[in-house]
Every structure is written in structure tokens, then in C-alpha cells.
Amino acid sequence: MSGLTYYFSLALSAILIENFIFVKFLGCCPFLGVSKKIDTATGMGIAVIFVMTVASAVTNLVNTYILGTTYAYMRTVVFILIIASLVQFIEMFLMKSMPALYESLGIYLPLITTNCAVLGVANLNVTNGLDFIGSVICGSSAGGGFTLAIVLFASVREKLEYADYPKCFEGFPIALVSASLLAIAFMGFQGLSIF
């Protein structure tokens, strides 16, 4: 496949076909934890897109130029350190230069360190052998897929408040059952597969 088509299919695959939450089960904790309201879900989603894009770029460079195959066994340790410090750095940067954005994203940023979607996308980029541009595209569109999923799910959960269901389903069980229905919907995208 030529350049542009390849990157387009990469993005489409990361957003819909291989959706991080509904197909790969990455980032389920924040997905279930911060999806009670659409506003907070959107905030979390945007913060995740941001961190995943930057993290994909940095981990790709570090992996290509520093780790290589010689130090491949250090990958997990190095990647998680990069992500943790990156999150801290982004937090400080936003606090200083963009206070308005920090106000709205601030509380979500520390949570992202333990979001397995970020470490997951960094690892996937390496296993799939993506180049720098590919990694950045994959990171940002996987973040986009996460945002799409969490916002859709939050809007379902807001409606669930008024629904009438058996008492033992209160809280997480009913949320998981509705997530399952959304996952069935996302299975439809499997047919799009262009790879």
C-alpha cells in the first residue's frame, strides 16, 4: 500500500476495527471509572489522546535510537518510566502555560499513568514494527477510539440513571452489560478490515 492509504487504514483500524476498549480491552479501568458523566468522559478522552500521541512519539524514538534489540529486555521498565515522567511533565507544562486547559484536564492527568492503553499502544507500535509517523498516527487514533468509546458509553450511562433494573445489577454490573451491547455494535466494524 502506498503511504497515504497505509496511514489512513492504520488510523481507521485503530479507531474502529481494533478499538482499544471494545476489541482489545485496553484502558478498561478509566473506561468504567470515569464514565458517569459526558463532560468528565470527554475531558478524560482528550487528555488520553494528548498523552498517547506524545507517548507514542517519544517511545518510538527511544526504542529506535537507544534501546534497539540489544536492550529489548529493558523495554517495559523504560517505557513505563517515560510515560510516568511524560505525564508529570505535561501536567507541569499545562499548569504554567495553559491554565484554562489545566483546570479542565488537571485531575485526569495523574490517572493516565496507570491507564494500560498508553503502555499498550507503545508496546503495540514496537511489536507491529511501525515507523515514527505510523506510531504517532496509531497513538493519536487509538486515543480517538478510546474517546469515542468512553463518550458513547457515558451517554448510555447517563440514561441508565433513570432506568429500572433488578437491584442486584446496581452499579457496575449494569454498566458492564451495556458495555457488552456496545461491544457487539463495534463487532460490526470487523467487516471493514482492509489489512
Binding site: F22, V23, K24, F25, L26, G27, C28, C29, L32, Y73, M74, R75, T76, V77, I80, L81, A84, S85, T113, T114, N115, C116, V118, L119, G120, N123, L124, T127, P166, K167, C168, F169, E170, G171, F172, P173, I174, A175, L176, V177, A179, S180, L181, A183, I184, M187
Partner: protein, 201 residues
Amino acid sequence: MSSFVKQLKEGILTNNPIFVQLIGMCPTLATSTSLKNGIGMGLAVTFVLMCSNLVISLLRKFIPSKVRIAAYIVIIAGFVTIVDLSLQAYLPELSSSLGMFIPLIVVNCIILARAEAFASKNGPLPSLIDGLSMGLGFTVAISILSTVRELLGSGTIYGLPVFGDGYTPIIMLILPAGGFLTLGLLIALFQHLTRNKEESK
């Protein structure tokens, strides 16, 4: 001895990481497609949890509280790398079917949560036991979930056929959607049972 039993009961039943605390969802949902994978994942997490709890508890007086999260993550990542490399060397089949979820144990909330809530405040021995009981609680929960999914989704238990040839497996249960559904129904059942118990008291 009684505190050991109490901690064990807490980890497996009253404060089960999956059914009660609802943390560590990603590996639970992703690797519970068969009992073999589920047990493998559960034991890997138990090992990392015990080791990290022990080391963090031993170092709890030396780690400055400002950088503690970063320090915990490095310790955890070290043990995860040990597990990852040993699985690749000795159990390559399990390693390839668990795939990327082995390195992702690093960001499993259970481990960081136990480090922060228990190991950083308690001595080495109770922390080790806490790691064992929480890890076993996770293993039990993921085994139950994967047994249900494997039994109905492919008609086998631990790879052995159960229902005979006439059974048409409900393939949906081993697909992602089935993971969410089965876990939701199991937690609902768990809540139903514990609530009945409370009411009858």
C-alpha cells in the same frame, strides 16, 4: 495464624479485587477466554504482587513519599520483566497466548493499589501475606470467569471437551462482548448473594 486466615478471607471473599473492589479489569476481561490463560494470568499477577509487596514493604522507610509512585512502578516493572522473560523461556505457548498482557501487569491497578494501601504501611510478613491473598482472590475470580466463558463459549474446560459433539458453542462468549457480559452477570450474582446474606442476618 488467625490474622493469616483473616487476610486470606478478605482477599478472596470480602474484599475480592475483581468482584468487590472492581479493579484490574483489563487483564481480567482480556485473558479470561480459556481457563488455562486465566490461571496463568492469575498466577503471574500473584507472583508479581507478592514480590512487589515484600520489596516495597522492606523499603518503605527509605522511599521518599514524594517520588513513591515512581519508585513503586520501577520495582513492579522489574518483577514483571522477570515474569515476562521466564514465561517466554519456559512456557512459550502461554506467553504467546497472553501476549501483551504480561508486560501490562505493570499498570494493573491491583498491584499499585496494594503497594499504596497496604505494603507502604505494614511490615514485610503481613505484606507478603496480603500479596498472596489478594493475588489468590484475583486468580479465583478470573478462574471462575474464564471457566464460565470457556465452558459455554467453546464447550470445553481446560481444553477438555465436556458436552460432546452435539453442543453448539455460544461463540459470542469468548469474543470481547461476551467478556463484558459474563463479568457483569457474575458481579450481579455476587452482589445478589452477599446482599441476601446481609439481609438474613
